[in-house]
Amino acid sequence: MNNVFVICEIDEGKVVDVSLELLTKGRTLANELKCKLEAVALGHKIDGIEKELYQYGADVVHVGDDERLDPYTTLPHTAVITGLFEEEKPQIALLGATTFGRDLGPRVSSALQSGLTADCTSLEIGDHEDKKAGKTYKDLLYQIRPAFGGNIVATIINPDCRPQMATVREGVMKKEIYDKHHKGKLNKLDVNKYFKPEDLVVKVVERHMEKSKVNIKNSSIIVSGGYGMGSKENFDMLYELADVIGAEVGASRAAVDAGFAEHERQVGQTGVTVRPKLYIACGISGQIQHVAGMEDSSMIIAINNDPNAPINRIADYVITGDVAEIVPKMIKYYKQNTK
């Protein structure tokens, strides 16, 4: 009772990375709260899926295996999760901020009338004093996320309703095996007891999934462009630079919105979080939502014509000048020096 839960996402029989990352985080939270970590895995033909989840620290794994749970549709998943949560009364429930988690999370939170915070960048345990009501709350989940506007981070809490729900994007938390020999308990769910006939009305008639072409998350060098690239043509210079130095191309949201790059390349709070060896930020101002996704890069080079751009504050090298002039020079001198 009152444990930390992670709702796992299963893709083609495998647990996706963000769910494992959340288990790693959930393990830390559970230790701090001195409670158990439980995982929920719903799908079809997922026998044995619990083994990996134990390694990531789950003490209990609830498995629902049924053909009506694969491919994912909202209502059957919601029925099982809300039913299970009503029985188990978790204090915390975490999901990945993927299309899966962002479809399921709000539905479950609405059904249970509990709060949900999207796209958290940090989760901590802490107390809260409500002076007006003269109440002190112990061990709440601090759901921390960059908020509206510039350099602001908000801590959201959920004092009275349970579970405290949060989504986190892939790559934000670190994934780490807790203990290869950690053994948990398997709880096979009888999903039929949760389904109502009206939960089964939506049908997936066709699916075309591809492996993503862009893989900036695992790239050790990223050349990233912002709105300051000025045009799609100028932005395309970055592919050339990336090509010669062996990098992937990333982008700020303003660059994606302007149509310079596809959404898959967006770095930041609502894009991917990256930790490359080298991050070259070209014409990016460095707003918190962007910085949240790249500040752990080992080395940062900022190219900006504004000497006071916020990005410069976290950079190791600040090049002040016009990207359209500097990027071609980087290409030229890289080639000259590696000949």
Binding site: G115, I152, A154, L278, P310, I319, I326, Y333
Partner: protein, 290 residues
């Protein structure tokens, strides 16, 4: 028989132009300090509704927006582009609502309107990026939901067929009506304002807006009832006040911090050839690149 479609649209602060006074001390957004725009993905949602209207004669498109008085702009904008009518859900009691309290109010209002076949919303609003209100409304209404929609392919014989755009591909799903659909920015852009509709609805106003209107205007609206934009308040939607506003919001803002980055000791360079040359040599020498 056409469809009855409700489009949920939100007026949002343009987050591209955020200033220092964007947040109030209590952690809520200081909307008054920011330029207000039609939430971009809600325009994609409106376009999907208008396409269904083009396809199925007799279809009506109603805009429902929740917000302060000036959010009536959203309804006028919708009317200029082809919506048939709009309701402004506005009340001080909604102030401080999180997504759940917002969803509750919106779902109560929907129940007061003519029974909807499809409720279409943008996937998310740019001031919060939560993507929560669509699904939470669907749950409150007990309707199925289809999120991340790129195209509503058809909506007849009691069911919709919708193409969804997910991280790694597309999926086509089928659901019975009524249903809630949320639309992505990858869906077609909204059609522009129509000149005739602009003329027709230019003077459309809410009751609050027309309070100080001249007698001429009152006479005009007597002839043209379509110029009235109805307002709905808490009293019109049979809502339990306990589920509204701050008290209906499980999530609270505990604190807000301004981030000050630890300034690093950075090397300063210019665009000069020799400096870029030196930098590239250094990066190659220490195996950062190459």
């Amino acid at each position: 028989m056409g469809l009855n479609i409700i489009v949920l649209a939100k007026q949002v602060p343009d987050t591209r132009n955020v200033g220092k006074d964007a947040m109030k001390a209590d952690g809520t957004v200081n909307r008054a300090a920011l330029p207000a725009i039609f939430n971009p993905e809600d325009l994609n949602a409106l376009e999907q509704a208008l396409r269904l209207k083009d396809k199925y004669t007799g279809t009506t498109v109603t805009i429902l927006t929740m917000g302060p008085g000036r959010a009536a702009d959203i309804i006028r904008e919708g009317l200029y582009r082809g919506a048939d009518k709009g309701y402004l859900l506005t009340d001080r009691a909604f102030a401080g609502s999180d997504t759940l309290a917002t969803s509750y109010a919106i779902s109560r209002a929907i129940l007061k309107l003519e029974k909807a076949d499809i409720i279409i919303a943008g996937r998310q609003a740019i001031d919060g990026d939560t993507a929560q209100v669509g699904p939470q409304v669907a749950e409150k209404l007990g309707m199925p939901q289809i999120t991340y929609a790129e195209e509503i392919i058809s909506a007849d014989k009691g069911k919709v067929v919708v193409k969804r755009r997910l991280e790694r591909g597309v999926e086509t799903v089928e659901s019975p009506l009524p249903v809630v659909v949320t639309v992505n920015s990858s869906a077609p852009a909204c059609r522009p304002r129509n000149a005739k509709l602009l003329m027709k609805y230019k003077h459309a106003k809410t009751i609050t807006e027309s309070q100080n209107a001249s007698e001429d205007y009152i006479n005009l609206t007597n002839d043209r009832p379509f110029l009235n934009i109805p307002e709905m308040s808490v009293n019109d939607i049979d809502a339990d006040p306990k589920w509204l506003g701050l008290s209906g919001s499980p999530t609270k803002v505990k604190k807000i911090e301004n981030i000050v980055f630890q300034a690093k000791e950075a090397k300063q360079l210019t665009a000069a050839d020799d400096e870029i040359n030196e930098l590239m040599k250094e990066l190659i020498a220490n195996h950062t690149i190459g």
